[in-house]
Amino acid sequence: MLWQTMMTFLISTPSRVAKSMPLFLKQLSSKPAWLCWLILGLGVWAAATMGAVTMTGQDWLAPLQQDGEPLSGSAYVLWHLRLPRILFAVLVGGALALSGALTQGLFRNPLADPGLLGVTSGAACAAALTIVLLSGSGIEIPSALRYWLLPATAFAGAVTVCFILDSVARWLTADSIAGLLLTGIALNALAAAVIGLCTYLATDEQLRNLSFWTLGSLAGANWTLTGVLLLALIMVFCYLRRLTHVMNALALGEAAAAHVGVNVRALRIRVIMLVALLCGFAVAWCGMIGFIGLVAPHIVRLLIGPDQRRLAPLAMLVGAILLLLADTAARTIAIPAEIPVGIFTALLGAPFFLVLLARMRRGV
């Protein structure tokens, strides 16, 4: 069943990309989306000018002027360090926000978030185990493969946690977010324990890697990762067209969704695979960056309402803005040192979560 869904997903994706292009453009050119694009554009420009090295207008044009010579100085910083990182932050923010929007739709609850539910820590846990066990066993891994090995294991960890959550959610009384969040706490604790064990076993060099997982950082960005993530996001986005429409039906509850003709089981598996994919990629390359998946969809829901078809694309834009701002702050506040961005998102996101809880209690 699972395998079948994965295969249909892979096979049908290219044709869907072709068919849904107009919609792809339509959703991202609505009025609120234009506003987001504007803010995002300004944010990218501001982020590029901020940092330890000051940029001049010359640096932006440097690749055009230098005939084949490698870039140097501040132009190098701009084109090889800062810009890939900025775009990477934008894409990761989009991916995290989308995974949050999908998780909330799946569990019919605005408080569901891959971080709170333990999906990201599951992914980080799997990645940490890979780092420690592989180098512990002395197997030499080509660095080209390492890019893909960590996302793959992180994805596996995220999928595992998602399916545990999904079966727990069905086993608990319907729509019990308390049960779901408690399960998330248990899974988070378990993952933290395993990561802690890895820390204990790790060598000094591995330790630096591990703290990177647990705090989250975009310092590993480069053009290759950015390009891969962009492609993945475009494919996922086009696939969303039909998926988000059907996901609206989940808001009716599982039984009623089935009555209006939705194959709920297949839909759940698809959504879980997508969430795990997005979280797996994000965690493998940037570690655990929390709360974007919670905050971004919520802001969008306040702005344009809860229709998943409009929510998902806009949440991606808002998530991109949020993570870009957080990462720029993380980069520039303590120059030349750099604060892990996960600390910033948690500082902003955790109070936001509490406000959300209070609002839910008042029934707003």
Binding site: R108, N248, L252, A256, A258, G261, V262, N263, P306, D307
Partner: protein, 268 residues
């Protein structure tokens, strides 16, 4: 309508179908519903009315026996195809996230990949369910009665362009005031008879069943204890079903209405 001649005689047929809920077995149920029929399911609380309805709706799997919809095993139907032929109106029902009303109504047609007349149908379905004034509002701000209308409109939208389908209804009007009950029941019956849909509805109100439905199915202790044309239903049958003394009277139109008989209950 050229296909009228070769339409199945039976829309839905159960043949010794049973359901397992935990360790409790319901059934075996043997019954058939013909196109356009209007059937009420009656029985005391906990008798298994909802279970039977869920079986008919394919929400619960058949543990033994057969359940067929249009001569094809219910579980062989692809869900999207089935959803164009039969709809279920739930008892009362929350919708997560406060979706807008027109989206909730449109969700009745979510299984159609191409649906060019969606907006038009949503409008008409809302009008038909007396819910047009609710369009544009958020579902979670509605009152109980308004939510019932929106769900009814959603079910109408689902079967709007179908013919000879099946409308399953789970005590739709229990919590509503009498005037609205009448209005919505009327809207539902008009909707169904215009398109030849059959209605199978769980009801708590015996009189509503007697007045509005042609056939009554009686459920008790998890099995079918009676299946009658309404004209043949007698007072003792109903008394045995609910284990309560009833008195009856005739309306001016010659229809039986019943009420629990207080005197005899006290005497007993």
């Amino acid at each position: 309508m050229s296909s009228l001649n070769n339409l199945p005689v039976q829309l839905l047929a159960l043949n010794r179908a049973t359901v397992l809920l935990g360790k409790r077995q319901f059934g075996p149920f043997t019954l058939s519903i013909r196109p356009g029929e209007q059937v009420a399911i009656l029985g005391p609380s906990g008798a298994g009315k909802s279970t039977l309805l869920k079986l008919l709706a394919r929400e619960l799997a058949v543990a033994g026996g057969q359940a067929e919809f249009e001569q094809r095993s219910l579980h062989e139907w692809p869900l999207p195809e089935l959803s164009r032929r039969r709809a279920l109106l739930p008892q009362s029902h929350e919708v997560a996230f406060g979706l807008p009303v027109e989206l909730v109504i449109g969700l009745g047609r979510v299984a159609r990949t191409l649906d060019p007349h969606l907006n038009n149908i949503v409008q008409q379905a809302a009008e038909h369910a007396c819910a047009q004034h609710l369009l544009g509002r958020r579902f979670d701000t509605l009152s109980g009665g308004e939510k019932a209308r929106v769900h009814m409109a959603r079910v109408f939208a689902q079967l709007w362009d179908a013919e000879q389908g099946l409308l399953l209804v789970d005590e739709p009007l229990a919590a509503l005031d009498p005037g609205l009950q009448f209005e919505l029941m009327d809207a539902m019956k008009t909707f169904a008879s215009q398109r030849g849909h059959a209605i199978v509805s769980i009801l708590h109100d015996i009189n509503q069943a007697l007045q509005s439905f042609g056939r009554l199915i009686l459920i008790k202790h998890g099995s079918l204890v009676g299946d009658y044309q309404t004209a043949h239903v007698t007072l003792p049958l109903l008394e045995a079903l609910y284990e309560v003394r009833l008195s009856s009277a005739m309306t001016d139109e010659g229809q039986m209405i019943v009420a629990p008989s207080l005197k005899q209950t006290l005497a007993a």
